[in-house]
Amino acid sequence: MKFDSPATTNPIDQLNVVGKPLDRIDGPLKVSGRATYAYEWHDPAIKPAYGVIIHATIPKGRIRRMDASAASRAPGVLTVVTPESLPKLIGKLEKGKFNTATLMGGPEIDHYHQAIGLVVATSFEAARAAANLVTIEYEEKPGNFALDKLIDAAGLPKDGEPDSGVGDFEAAFAQAPVTLDQRYKTPDHSHAMMEPHATLAVWDADGLTVWTSNQMVAWGRSDLAKTLNLPEEKVHLMSPFVGGGFGGKLFLRADVVMAALGAKATGQPVKVALARPMLMNNTTHRPATLQRIRIGATREGKITAIGHESWSGDLPGGGPELAVQQTRLLYAGENRMTRTRLAVLDLPEGNAMRAPGEAPGLMALEIAIDEMAEKLGMDPIAFRILNDTQVDPEKPERPFSQRAFAEVFRIGAERFGWDKRQARPGQLRDGRFLIGHGVAAAFRNNMVTKSGARVRLGKDGIVTVETDMTDIGTGSYTILAQTAAEMMGLPIERVAVHLGDSRFPVSAGSGGQWGANNSTAGVYAACVKLREAVAKRLGINAADVSFANGEVRSGGRALSLTEAAKDGELVAEDSIEYGDLDKTHQQSTFGAHFIEVGVDAATAEVRIRRMLAVCAAGRILNPKTARSQVIGAMTMGAGAALMEELAVDTRRGFFVNHDLATYEVPVHADIPHQEVIFLDETDPMSSPMKAKGVGELGLCGVAAAIANAVYNATGVRVRDYPVTLDKLIDRLPDVA
């Protein structure tokens, strides 16, 4: 189905099932331990051996000698895969399209904890013990590990638009009566998802089957085939349940490749999970940024010049963090400039993490806006609304499809009690806490991408959805079931959903908050075809048919839907494909985050007291799962604001705090109160579902709202995340 003109009224608008806050249909499986996550795939026919990865312990250089003889002789060991054993085993390993560094290194080492081998044994414990018996001599090479030392050496990234501009930014900024010129820092972040990357690999006559934990089944499959030099049809990838990904599982990672190699070498199924202390350096992370923001405005607060520059680093061949991209779209202003620069760093590979670009970009921009409002003597909400735009500021002929930007702030301000905020910092106190309030905009684009599905109407009257879409904890199973139920006029109990299997039609996958809108639209398209097939089978006019309460109605007739399949299952498959509505219109989601913090007047510990998000994101397909997405994202924003930082040892070239004891993420006690309001809106430009994404919107701007609240509480402006007590304590008043 081609979606190339705005959606009109369609069966989804009935909202009998879609739009309802239904419980997750996969919930019972998850709470009873029956959901088959990758490492828990218990097929009685499969007797797996266990692989443990051997990791490089230098950041850059080469292996001079690797001695696995003791490991090979250790109890229970079946094989040791080493760089030397590769040619005989599989030939040369290629690099996946989506990978920057090879997933198995050696003899060259690209980064700390890069996989360089695998021990396979009859038990996990035996494999782990043997892995520690492998001795390696390295020839270490010097590397670059400090981004701030590479500002001048940073160059143009090879892809994308490193520079953008409209008007004459420099001149307008120089002439503006009120200006801000500040620098901001965001650190490297780890996805720190609950479920580590894990894979069970099995080879048979048909090729390779992997049960893994991956957000993008088709990308994972094609890159696995490429890496192993296999035809794609020889690779079967399954990822039915994913215990969190946040972008860390968008791509093929070492667990899959090493499990496949181990299974090949032993001739038996092999399971590999990445060990928690290896995740931070072995896999990808959100890259640190250094940012400079300049804003010029009239005394009345109209922005006349806005410039945003960002520097980040990555391994050779990698890409930048696109921290400036939202600045191109968020606020009005005739003279605009952005620059993105990329340095070569020898730290582990940087890549997408939840709201890549926006998250660190808005961490800086939305502090800058708060600072600018203060310089102008304006309320930060009023300043934002004054500089609202209904069109792409670089291309005024291109409107936003929907932009309830002012509205989310107005609604939020009223609900939050923003009028009670003290404009002057350091005025409110509650016991030992200095109280502050902060606000920031949330802004994330809606990306449309082809997504396919197959639907079956069985003889039992059950509709089954099959698509390679994944559910990474987001609620995909449930919203896809809601979509099919709505389209076919069934209660949700009569829909079954099967996901995450590369034999199913290729979907949008889970990433970039594009999953919900696109994958449900794909099911919509398939259901339109199934409705036609049903009408045809029942011999009724497809143009004049409605599906409700398990019945198919046309004219005065009402037939049971099950009737249509009584002589055999009906199957329909289709994809949603998009025209140019995303070119003619800027499709985005908007939100406002309101935060109250208490800062301990003595210790400077920052504790969040309440969080409110107001989101405008098109139709909300399931308010319950959507709310879970947003509160989870807000929690992640609290982590980014207050504690999360991969600590770089710039001498030794690695992330030091590589476990969950030292890389702190929020715990329950950090998040006492959260509220989420969704605007009741639909976006007919987005898809027949009229929905957009919320999973990343909920994160965008949160950290800045918290940093702004800390400023409001203390009068101390921290521009270097995370906002930890050591950055505040010297500047607080004496304890009294």
């Binding site: 003595a602 030091v656 304890v735």
Partner: protein, 316 residues
């Protein structure tokens, strides 16, 4: 994890003698720290002596009017004991500031005292660490040291002791009762139990080889306002950046011990003479000779400010 042999001890004395007799043996009780370290092969015992069956899990009054806490009393039970809550509130508060409910249910009194450091370089077997591998060097000096020690540090090690409980025990003048492999018993004042790193950071305590902790005793209650204030980046389930255990009497005198600043719970008795003069004077005396790194120098200010707040709380 390397293969190991395992036995259940039948008496404290036997546990001690076996620990001395068997090569590379370690006691195991709650296992909340040891098992993690074994998985990472930071601890590689060849033999484990399980002491969980030894009793030692009661809290009894002493003749002197204090309490004797069995070595295997779980942290949860110790924190909840009505006598501890009433007479040694700083201890109960310190325990509840540590770890999580699940860990406190398993962790024992003696095991808590014997925790290893949480220095991130200690936890990465590929990095030089004098505590983990004597003579290999200290990666933390000049590295990521925000969390690490500021006083009593050495050229060889700047690790801290991670316990909250031990800080309160230090303020309470607790003592550690042990039995040695030859059956002799002794009592080690808590002040002498943990040691500074000096040039032997691999040695955390003054226990002899095989020596087994049977109990921790608390002297008779000293009254006063008892406060434990733990400062951390997140609200729960984090090791202290700094912590302050204080016992403040109505006349302004009292005791202070610090966590998160040194290789042992940090208390300087003569600094306590400054308490009536306030936090600034007390901190100056407490942290005299501090050698922070660039990354953790803020801890000196933090201690002073935290102590100020604690003294204000204590004095109402």
């Amino acid at each position: 994890m390397k293969p190991f042999t395992y036995e259940r001890a039948k008496s404290p004395a036997e546990a001690a003698s076996r620990a001395a007799a068997v090569n590379n043996a370690r006691f195991i009780a709650g296992g909340t720290n040891l098992l993690d370290l074994m998985k990472l092969e930071i601890e590689t015992p060849a033999h484990l002596i399980d002491v969980n069956g030894l009793g030692l899990d009661t809290i009894e009054p002493t003749e002197a009017g204090g309490l004797r806490i069995g070595a295997l009393v779980r942290n949860t039970d110790l924190a909840a004991d009505p006598r501890v809550r009433r007479d040694y509130a700083v201890l109960s508060r310190a325990l509840l500031a540590g770890a999580s409910g699940q860990l406190r249910n398993k962790a024992t009194t003696a095991g808590n005292l014997l925790q290893r450091t949480r220095c991130p370089y200690f936890y990465d077997p590929a990095q030089p660490c004098n505590k983990r591998q004597p003579g290999s060097g200290c990666s933390a000096i000049g590295g990521f040291s925000r969390q690490l020690g500021v006083i009593g540090v050495s050229e060889a090690c700047i690790a801290t002791h991670p316990s909250d409980m031990a800080v309160a025990m230090r303020a309470l003048d607790a003592a550690v009762e042990t039995v040695k492999p030859d059956g002799q018993t002794r009592t080690i004042p808590i002040a002498d139990f943990h040691r500074l790193p000096e040039d032997r950071p691999e040695i955390d305590t003054t226990l002899d080889h095989g020596e087994f902790i049977t109990a921790v005793t608390l002297p008779p209650p000293v009254g006063g306002q008892q406060v434990y204030r733990k400062v951390r980046d997140r609200a729960s389930y984090a090791f202290a950046i700094v912590s302050v255990a204080a016992i403040v009497q109505p006349d302004g005198t009292g005791r202070v011990a610090l966590g998160g600043v040194a290789h042992k719970p940090w208390r300087v008795e003569k600094a306590e003479a400054e308490l009536p003069r306030g936090a600034k004077a007390t901190t100056a005396a407490l942290l005299d000779g501090a050698k922070p790194t660039e990354e953790n120098a803020f801890k000196l200010t933090l201690v002073e400010r935290t102590l100020s707040a604690v003294l204000m709380d204590a004095r109402g």
